[in-house]
Amino acid sequence: MVTEREAGTSIFNASLVIAKTAKEIEAMMEELQDTLQSSLGEEGLVKLNVGIKLSDEEEAYRNDPMNWLCQAYLYQYKLIKNGRSPFGYLGIQVCLGDEDLHAVGIDEAVVHVMFAESEWGVDQFGLPPMAMVDTCGSTLHVHLEADKLWRLIWESEESDPETAWVFSVPLAGLNTVDDLKNQIVHPVAALLKDTPVDQALSKGDKIMRFSGDAESCRRIIAE
């Protein structure tokens, strides 16, 4: 049993930590958007200066059942190369923690970095990734590449298959602009250029590794 004081201090500190973390996340996202914009812009993957725009659709987030805490929040960006229409969407989901993460062996806050051609594609991801068949008959296949990248493929009879990808980084591993570049920006740029996955994620030494498939997914922790 914990003492009353220990319990009180624990709650108090947890609240302080969340508040400080939230402020840091907002600052990180400012820095990340700038870095993504300049890096992807210089490589010609998106328009210079204005190729990455925060999507103005409704906010996507997940709260605890009592609505006291935002456990995960999704920043959705339009990626624009020509004209005004996006060719894809980049989702940065900051997940502070939940039971699902625990189930796959993760006990720390994570950032999921996602890309999909359609906006709805980036707000569906969580760990463990869910392969499924929906009511319209569309099938979602999920598989793991190079232990790090989840590839999601939607197949339906009505349209061409659509693919999306996701990789995850521990939030507390992102502490400098170089961390943002090495763990997120460079991998994203390389993947958008269809670089082989192991090469694309080679600089991202903090990117999480997994074993198994959608059902048996577990995090691999390096000794």
């Binding site: 049993m1 914990v2 003492t3 220990e6 319990a7 201090t9 624990s10 500190n13 947890a14 302080l16 930590v17 400080k20 973390t21 402020k23 840091e24 907002e26 600052a27 990180m28 400012e30 820095e31 958007q33 700038d34 200066n49 204005v50 725009k53 925060l54 006990d107 939030l171 507390a172 992102l174 502490n175 400098t176 602009v177 961390d179």
Partner: protein, 298 residues
């Protein structure tokens, strides 16, 4: 606040209050004292925003600056940019910067009745020959880039030519700056002299009023006292003065002990568990299980 009330009336509004609070103090410094430092800050901003700076401007060391809040720069009628900086070298104007400031949701850039744009009107008021020396900054939120892009698009596409200046030239001299970037560049630019105190206060002001905080990583998000307790060997029952002997009146009879172990060294569950879910990690790293604030007195 002082200049906001003087220039804008008793109830100046939040945007004007912020503008006055941040930039008002600059207008009170003697221009000769702050010209060079302020120019270095502006130069950093312009370069970071990708503007082409001539070698002459790059090597400039102005020795005078005039800082004006809401000056009327129109020959006829009114046109009041939020901030106008004019840099001088030996009384000769060498560069000027118009800064339009938006705080929170302030993005009303177009007069719907006349179809005229606030930023374009400001640029039009600058003398043609001074335009070669001038820059334009839109300081606000992230929408600034889109605001400028849309405005340029509509001005170029407009059937009626409202403006008599080279829009392409202007496009190369105007830039959107976010408050986050402003705070970051302020932090980056070394200010040794008169502006240092202003800079430190502005960074703190932006942090407290707008939550604008420059990214510094997550290691600082955990309260320092917890980190200290984790990373140092402080334990709650460790701070006893070392036992040296017995006191009798003024005399101390020394009696050394060979043992100096902490008295309470047992593993406990509870508070610790919320910091570290995995007990194996704590065993491996030999974290103390019994930490509490370092100021606890026994």
């Amino acid at each position: 606040m002082l200049l906001a009330v003087v220039r804008k009336g008793k109830k100046p509004g939040k945007e004007n209050t912020v503008t006055s609070s941040i930039f008002g103090p600059l207008s009170l410094f003697p221009g000769t004292y702050i010209a060079e430092d302020l120019w270095r800050l502006i130069l950093t901003i312009l370069k970071k925003k990708g503007m082409k700076i001539s070698a002459t401007l790059e090597g400039l060391s102005p020795n005078g600056v005039v800082v004006q809040l809401w000056p009327n720069i129109a020959d006829k009628g009114r046109c009041e940019p939020d901030l106008f900086l004019k840099f001088y070298l030996n009384d000769e104007l060498v560069s000027s910067v118009i800064i339009e400031i938006k705080w929170e949701n302030g993005s009303q850039m177009i007069d719907k009745e006349t179809g005229r744009y606030q930023l374009a009107d400001q640029w039009q008021c600058i003398d043609d020959c001074d335009k070669q020396l001038s820059f334009h900054i839109y300081l606000g939120d992230r929408k600034g880039i889109s605001v400028i892009e849309d405005m340029m698009y509509h001005i170029k596409m407009a059937e009626v030519d409202n403006y008599r200046f080279d829009v392409k030239h202007w496009a190369a001299r105007i830039s959107a700056l976010t408050w986050y970037e402003f705070s970051k560049y302020l932090k980056e630019v070394k200010q040794d002299n008169y502006l240092k105190l202003w800079r430190d206060n502005v960074i703190e002001f932006l942090n407290k009023t707008g939550g604008i905080h420059v990214f510094s990583g997550f290691l600082g998000a955990v309260p320092t006292e917890i980190i200290n307790d984790i990373t140092t060997d402080k334990q709650l029952f460790w701070h006893r003065p070392e036992f040296k002997g017995f006191r009798h009146n003024a005399n101390i009879f020394e009696c050394y002990s060979k043992l100096n172990f902490p008295l309470f060294w047992h593993k406990r569950s509870g508070f610790r568990r919320s910091l570290c879910h995995n007990p194996k990690i704590s065993l491996r790293t030999q974290l103390r299980l019994f930490w509490v604030e370092s100021n606890v007195k026994l």
